[in-house]
Symmetry: C2
Subunit: 232 residues, 2 copies
Amino acid sequence: MALKMYDLAAADPLLRFSPYCWRTRMALAHKGLAVETVPWRFTEKDAIAFSGQGRVPVLLDGDKVVTDSWDIACYLDAAYPDRPALFGSADARGAALFVKRWCEGQVHPALVRLIIADIARIVHPKDTGYFRESREKALGASLEAYVAAEEENLRHFHAVLTPLRLTVKDMAFLGGETPAYADYIVFGALQWARCASPQDLLQADDPVAAWFARLADLYDGLGAKAPRATAA
Amino acid sequence: MALKMYDLAAADPLLRFSPYCWRTRMALAHKGLAVETVPWRFTEKDAIAFSGQGRVPVLLDGDKVVTDSWDIACYLDAAYPDRPALFGSADARGAALFVKRWCEGQVHPALVRLIIADIARIVHPKDTGYFRESREKALGASLEAYVAAEEENLRHFHAVLTPLRLTVKDMAFLGGETPAYADYIVFGALQWARCASPQDLLQADDPVAAWFARLADLYDGLGAKAPRATAA
């Protein structure tokens, strides 16, 4: 039986844009596990109340419910040890946790500065009020004011990517010759931006763009073929 | 036969303070390999000319000469596969390379802002002129001017450590339950500062300080017992 996953969706149910859900989609594909994704919107807390919390991804594997993208990755390696590992060793898992902390602390905030107003344009109408109010309260600014310094924000985003750029200049993936969960963590962030925003944030000659394209092409183009926002 | 390693030394030949050499010292100890260290000063290029380059660490394993701390780590895992691995898997090696890029791009420059003038005080008299001139040219400022904004520089250093702090708050080591090469990369940076400077740069309640102490205590206190600079 296929696994089932609640996956953040835009007004367009095929447009999926959560960085955390993208990590999990890639992780499931890496392990060769089929998954049925259920589109879910921010305000549909009732639909996932069974999981004991209010965020996606939520993974159902038979009767087993797993939440939190990191816990899901650890679960998949433990539950399916005969399939390709997301973490090749204990120290790979440790260093991947470091990559996660770096990504969420530096890459995610730099992307919010670039795409948060774009996200407000794609969310389901029933999410619009919740999304704008909760984010403007958290950011202390209107979404439009928060992204106003476009050039400076883009420069900062490119600067933040420096350690990734220097790494994938010399290696195909953070996993080495083949991708690993550390790749999917950062891929999720850039795929979030790619799907939620019509902006092209990476320069064509950036080694990060080539690395991102390699990941997007994996698993029959799971990332590359995914619907993205179009310019208004 | 013990391995031999050229190791950057201060005027005091027992005071060793290269971040790259510390990585290698820890890596050799991790693998249980005895090493004879040879004190080396910046201006002794002739002494390591046989290696085809002018930096330490230089490792001699019988007739084999290996330079560059990263290449040495990879060499040790390849040459001594039956001893504890520095990289548990290919993806651990990839993520460790990311940690190296992050450390050298963010932690090292933040530490230079704090300790470069202290280093000038401990180097061998024959290195003093070379050290000050080459560094002041590279930094575009006198060493004393470069470290003048002490409080701001310290705040920046603590901020830079955030992804490490959040990781080792939840895990004993970047390697997980046991240390791995990614730990030694960042340990080398902090041990560089600990040995070259009398300043205590980490706050006692910082999870990074506890993680550093765990590493310094390894291998019979290799890091903790190492001589450090004393206040002038």
